[in-house]
């Protein structure tokens, strides 16, 4: 479903966010990307959305080489990939229902279809009764549910989540993880970047660990910790921005 081959990303200023990354994610998988801040998790996700372009290498998403995709086709790529972010990215001036419907409206779906699908997906995330509330009237966990609903309303085959529980307390995070798990069971491939130990350890799914842009571990049914210490050997060419990573 998603394949990265020898992917390298160097930002301006020589910061290396990905180094020869090879990764093959099959349909229906649930994959955690773990690693300290600055290890390149977000960059990988952004590259899969073509928000960033690779410096070298190739990425296939849903069978298409997206590194050579012409710009005008990028919207079509994004329609097949749902995204959830740490900061929810909801529009404060729209209600819950409108925020979710927005994702279908910009695709030009007819109103009747939009109404039905929005109702269904709000039911799925447990917010059917709060469709007319505004984001500021919801708790953080509820807002993230809205954001998941928006990502999934179009039934994309892939869902990318970048620290979806980063702003939530542990109990609320569990709720979001249950939701993502349920979505995964519908056959949706999910890739989730996180540095939440408890979640990764509890879920026992495939774990891809990144350190300074490199894949240093790729384990099925893995936990967060592995004892692998390569990242702390002191790699002088890296910028010092990774210092506070991890927990």
């Amino acid at each position: 479903m998603i394949r990265l081959q020898d992917v390298t990303k160097v930002y301006g200023g020589g910061i290396v966010a990905a180094r020869d990354v090879n990764l093959d994610i099959r349909k229906g998988e649930f994959v955690f990307l773990v690693g300290p801040s600055g290890s390149g998790k977000s960059t990988l996700i952004r590259m899969c959305l073509r928000e960033e372009r690779v410096t070298k290498g190739t990425i296939w998403v849903a069978g298409k080489d997206i590194t050579t995709l012409p710009n005008w086709k990028v919207p079509y790529l994004r329609r097949s990939v749902g995204t959830v972010f740490q900061d929810f990215k909801l529009l404060p001036t729209k209600t819950v229902g409108e925020n979710v419907a927005f994702a279908l409206e910009v695709l030009g779906r007819p109103k009747s279809v939009t109404r039905r699908q929005v109702a269904q997906v709000l039911e799925l995330v447990g917010l059917a009764t709060k469709a007319d509330r505004y984001p500021r009237q919801l708790s953080g966990g509820e807002q993230q549910r809205v954001s998941v609903a928006r990502a999934f309303v179009n039934r994309p085959p892939i869902l990318l989540a970048d620290e979806p529980t980063g702003n939530l307390d542990p109990a609320t995070s569990v709720g979001i993880m249950r939701l993502l798990d349920r979505i995964n069971r519908t056959g949706t491939t999910i890739v989730m970047a996180t540095h939440d130990h408890a979640i990764v350890d509890a879920m026992r799914r495939r774990v891809v660990q990144l350190e300074r842009g490199r894949v240093v571990r790729d384990a099925n049914e893995g936990g967060y910790e592995s004892g692998y210490e390569a990242g702390f050997e002191g790699d002088d060419e890296q910028s010092p921005s990774t210092a506070a990573g991890g927990v």
Binding site: P75, R78, K89, L91, A103
Partner: protein, 290 residues
């Protein structure tokens, strides 16, 4: 249909949100187009009022109808023989009628009652030096075929040269102000995009097509341009109306044809829209990369 309504609605919402900057952009379009349109109307007025005096006409010798045409042509031959004459041309009744029609294009009633036969024929003379007109005039007044002679007054020549200077200054101003208007529109579009960057970011995230995102902003610019154009056309048409009501003697007229106003008015509306389109395209260019 529903999408079109959505896109237009977005454009108007955005216009309302930035009302002050939008007003500035619309005013800039208005001033530059009004200046251009005004200059055009002024030029047309000058042209209409000096129609007979262009293309090097210095003297018009009006001929008597009760003298035969061969006599007219004999006089033309004689005139062409004068040392002071550079060129001379016989202007028959049909040419006179064509000219009359252009002079009084906006007065169909007058055109209807005038019979070409009633219009005088004439000889149009270009002199080697306009200062010699008195000699030629004096000589010709004795001719039996000559009814009267009109001389291009210095005033007309001055008017024509002042018009030329004013036209080029006006053109320069129009170019400068037009550029300013386009830049201002580009700026309002940038501000609109900035104000809605969150929304635009989310639209991109959920896979909205590039044109779906761009069209409201483009429309916004085009609407600003057309508004400015409409104000300009309205102002000039109104100004022209009041000017045309000023009583003048029969041969000086502050009125251009309605046809002229409509034709150019529509064109200036289109100019406004085009300026808006160019401005918003410029404003969009940097911000909406994928």
């Amino acid at each position: 249909m529903q999408r079109a309504a959505y896109l237009v609605g977005e454009a108007f919402t955005s216009l309302r949100r930035n009302i002050l900057v939008v007003a500035a952009a619309v005013l800039a379009v208005f001033v530059s187009l009004a200046l251009a349109f005004g200059a055009l109307v002024f030029n047309e007025l000058v042209r209409l009022n000096t129609l007979q005096w262009q293309e090097g006409n210095h003297l018009i010798v009006w001929l008597r109808d009760d003298v035969s045409q061969p006599a007219h042509l004999a006089l033309l031959e004689e005139v062409l023989g004068y040392d002071e004459v550079l060129a001379a041309e016989y202007f028959d009744k049909s040419q006179a009628f064509t000219e009359f029609r252009e002079l009084f294009a906006d007065e169909p009633a007058l055109l209807e009652i005038v019979d070409p036969v009633l219009l005088p024929t004439s000889i149009r003379i270009e002199l080697t030096n306009i200062d010699l007109y008195e000699t030629v005039q004096f000589r010709l007044l004795g001719e039996p075929a000559v009814d009267s002679i009109s001389v291009q007054a210095d005033a007309i020549e001055n008017l024509l040269s002042v018009t030329r200077v004013l036209s080029s200054i006006g053109l320069g101003l129009v170019v400068l102000l037009g550029t300013a208007a386009i830049v201002l529109i580009a700026n309002t579009i940038r501000m609109a995009i900035y104000a809605r960057r969150e929304e635009v970011g989310i639209m991109k995230l959920v896979g909205a097509g590039n044109w779906f995102i761009r069209i409201p902003f483009l429309l916004e610019g085009v609407i600003e341009g057309i508004l400015g154009g409409a104000l300009a056309v309205g102002a000039i048409v109104l100004g022209h109306y009041f000017l045309s009501q000023v009583p003048t003697d029969f041969f000086v007229r502050f009125q251009v044809s309605a046809d002229f106003l409509v034709r150019w008015g529509v064109l200036f509306l289109a100019f406004g829209g085009l300026a808006g389109f160019v401005g918003s395209s410029l404003g969009l260019r940097r911000f909406l990369k994928v």
